[in-house]
Symmetry: D2
Subunit: 135 residues, 4 copies
């Protein structure tokens, strides 16, 4: 069982689209920003640390269910939690939560694949890294 971590993401005017709501594709940008921050803040292993080991994380699958629209003035929390690790892949669940009402604006999951920076090919996630993420 993995821990859930949270990041507050600030909605900007350029996130808003022609329907006057946060644009559909920005939800994923918020999740990617939250994971990027949580790598440093919670896992103590930044993307740069991965690059130094010649690893990179790429996104292989994204699945998003939109529940409530978001407006420019909404405050949001992005909660993420590793679901499972398998070979070169790690599945991460996420929830985008309206801070004021604690209602879920969107939920879903991503599958990240670890690749070699040199070859671009998938690489089995090393045990040391699985341990780092097993908190």
């Amino acid at each position: 069982m993995y821990s859930a971590f949270e990041s507050e993401i600030k909605i900007r005017p350029d996130d808003i689209d022609l329907n006057n709501h946060v644009h559909n594709t920005k939800y994923l940008d918020f999740v990617l920003a939250a994971r990027y921050e949580q790598m440093v803040k919670d896992y103590k292993m930044s993307m740069e640390d991965f690059h130094r080991l010649n690893f990179n994380w790429v996104v292989s699958v994204t699945h998003i269910e939109y529940k409530r629209s978001l407006k420019l003035d909404d405050k949001i929390i992005v909660r993420t939690q590793v679901d499972s690790v398998n070979g070169a892949q790690s599945k991460v669940n996420f929830w985008i939560i309206k801070k004021e009402t604690e209602k879920i604006a969107a939920e879903g999951h991503l599958i990240y694949t670890m690749v070699s920076l040199k070859t671009g090919r998938p690489v089995r996630i090393p045990n040391e890294i699985i341990e780092k993420y097993s908190i």
Copy 2:
């Protein structure tokens, strides 16, 4: 069985991200742009036509599987096909295809929900519209 339709989408420099590839969230923007174009070109019923009838389409689910990265100079075709229509929702499958190699860069589906422009609430898709989309 519904027809598949295609749109060529041009990749722009601002679609490229820190990995030197098309950014993950832009894939969905390409699909949304293709559907927007195909509403006019293929279904002969533009988003404006929907708005005039007080309807709007919102995206309820997106699922994307990334197969191959895209570079700035790649030419791409977005193929979409209605999978099914059910109540207020329409499921649309899509494929992003590299023009030169005909290989699939990404595939997935979206679920659109028809909502009333006035209330924002889901509305059963009227038969006339199902017919328009049953080509």
Copy 3:
């Protein structure tokens, strides 16, 4: 002489481009986000307040001089200051400053035009609003 106000803006992974730096067009998005926040925080008159009075601000001119590139991990402050108000227009100077070194990453100005939400035409900025901004 008008006061200068500051907002901290957080750089996100989707702001980074193919040169591994903050994309040129995002600098302006940061300034627009800072002004949007400062309307509430400093001028006590939100964009919504303007809309309720049937006014809107549109951007008529942007001028940006890029001095230093910004990376994903840089912390930045956006400082803005009204330069002058004239008829329907307000000129705002801005500086994007690296928090750690206090060096200027970019500077420039915007000219905003007040328009009527109904007609879309420029409107002389009323004295009450000039006063609100004369702090």
Copy 4:
């Protein structure tokens, strides 16, 4: 006197903002996309060719005057023209033109600086390159 070149840029739904018009910062993305295309199409020297010579172009100044708003269905042409070349810098004027009415939606200029890919420092633009651009 340098030639003017033109590119047609297609507006996408993700270019539209909360005012239901093309977002202010996208105008510059359109110009950058047009220049990128024109490097290949008109100057016969792609960005990749520059990188192979260990050069890169970075944007040092942008100045945009917005004249008319753009909507999702507008067709636009981006016209650009080198104004002058001086040391490491090249000034390029641009016009974004509505195809149907031939009216100018925006105009302005950019100053590009040639830098060394290795050092990141400005480099005097070599005569061979000035010649390539003197068409």
